[in-house]
Every structure is written in structure tokens, then in C-alpha cells.
């Protein structure tokens, strides 16, 4: 790569950030306006809705989120009556989180919106581009 005509937009961390920012902001409207949720909150909600009840630690690991972030998101979702906790009998440090009926409904709604938004984004690309994009992003996230 010739350094002289290198554009800032070619620098991967920068380009990723710009793209992530743009899509996050667009999608944020939905969960923020409709349910007063924060980014970490919808992530937690999505994890529980998509993969079923699990412990906070499990969410931390799966989503690469710090435990304080998850802890606060869980409290917020609990206050909204979107989820409830149940202490595990075999290890009373852990508590299993599961969505309430209300939380499940919110998840269903937001999931639909997410799919629609994703599909809309997809229209700008060919199937091959989409495939490459997904593959590359997953790979980068695991680095």
C-alpha cells in the first residue's frame, strides 16, 4: 500500500467505527424511543430472547461485555419488568436471568424491527458482498 494516497477511510479501525456508528445510531431510535432502552440493555435482551435464559456471566462471555455493564443493564431491564432473576440452588452466587412475558413481547417486536433493518441494509449489496462482509466481521471480532 502506498502511504501517500492513503485515505483515513481506508484505515480499517476507522472505517469500522464509522460504519458501526452509523448503523447503531439508526437502529438505536427504535429501542430508545419505544422502550427507553440503552445499547447494552437491548444487547442483553437480545441474548436472552435469542438464546434463552442464562446467567449474567454467560452474557458477558458471549457478548464480550464487562460485568459491570451487564449488571447495570440487568437492573434496568428488571426495573422495566422485562426480565426476572432466579438464584441457582447449587451455586448461590449465580442467578439465571429469563425474560418475562412482557420482555418476550418487547424482544419479539424489536427482533422484527432488527430483521427489517438488516434486510434494508442488505439491499445495498450483492449476496456475495453480504457473505464476505459477515464472514470478515466475525473474524475480526474474534481477533
Amino acid at each position: 500500500m502506498n502511504t501517500d494516497d492513503f485515505d483515513l477511510g481506508d484505515f480499517l479501525p476507522y472505517a469500522l467505527n464509522q460504519a458501526a456508528e452509523a448503523t447503531s445510531l439508526a437502529f438505536q431510535r427504535h429501542y430508545k424511543e419505544r422502550y427507553g432502552m440503552l445499547r447494552t440493555e437491548w444487547r442483553v435482551l437480545f441474548h436472552l430472547g435469542r438464546y434463552g435464559a442464562m446467567t449474567a456471566k454467560a452474557i458477558c462471555d458471549r457478548a464480550s461485555l464487562h460485568k459491570t455493564k451487564v449488571s447495570r443493564a440487568v437492573r434496568a431491564l428488571e426495573r422495566k419488568r422485562f426480565l426476572c432473576r432466579e438464584v441457582l440452588e447449587d451455586d448461590r452466587r449465580q442467578e439465571v436471568l429469563s425474560l418475562t412475558r412482557l420482555g418476550q413481547g418487547v424482544y419479539d417486536d424489536l427482533f422484527k424491527v432488527a430483521m427489517a433493518y438488516d434486510a434494508e441494509l442488505g439491499t445495498h449489496f450483492t449476496p456475495e458482498e453480504r457473505a464476505v462482509l459477515r464472514r470478515c466481521l466475525k473474524k475480526i471480532a474474534r481477533l
Copy 2:
């Protein structure tokens, strides 16, 4: 797309965030540890270093950054003696920002690091993948 086997990692805003987070964190080490800079600060520095002296407003527009963010970053960079301001005579609201010799040196150093990091990231992909990735990300950022 079948909604039943939809993975959260397939949701573009999520995947983009994870990837952006991963690369940002890795690169952050350099400008943070070595120069005590914040993300917005290195962005501003890069813009000035790459595209030459310009006004804060110009940086806002080019980088899609809010003016308060830029204002604070400029102040921080000024305190570090990395840049200096010069009020425009024809319109005294504006001030042209330019890197000091010190700031230029820091930019040169970080630019090298950035190129190296970008190249290292690139080794994980084929040239075609890299091309698709760049193109798609730029497109998304402009949406």
C-alpha cells in the same frame, strides 16, 4: 433469511460494533499509552496530519463528529502542544488549526503504527475480501 437460525452475529449493526470495538481497542493502546490521547483526539490529529490545516468545522464535517467533541479534542491537543490555532482575519469566528512540529512528529509516529496495524489485519483476508470490506464499510458509513 430464515428467522429461526438467525444468529445475533449476523445482525449487521451488532457485527459491526463487535468488529469496531475489537480493532479500536487494539489500536487504542498505542495512542493512549504513548501519548495519553483519546479516540476523538487521534481522529482530529489524523485529519490534520493527513489533510493539512483546516478549521474545526471542516473536521466535524469530514469526520462526522459533533462540534462539542471536536472542541474538546482540540483543547486537549492544544494543551499537549500538538496543535495551534490561528483566527482567520476575513471571518473572525473561524480558527484554522494546524499541527505544531511536535504534533507532526506524533502524527508521523502514529501513522506508521496505524499502517502496520492495518497491514497486519489485512493478512487475515484475501485481496478481494479486503476490497469488498472497504467498499461496503464506506458505503454504510455514508447511509
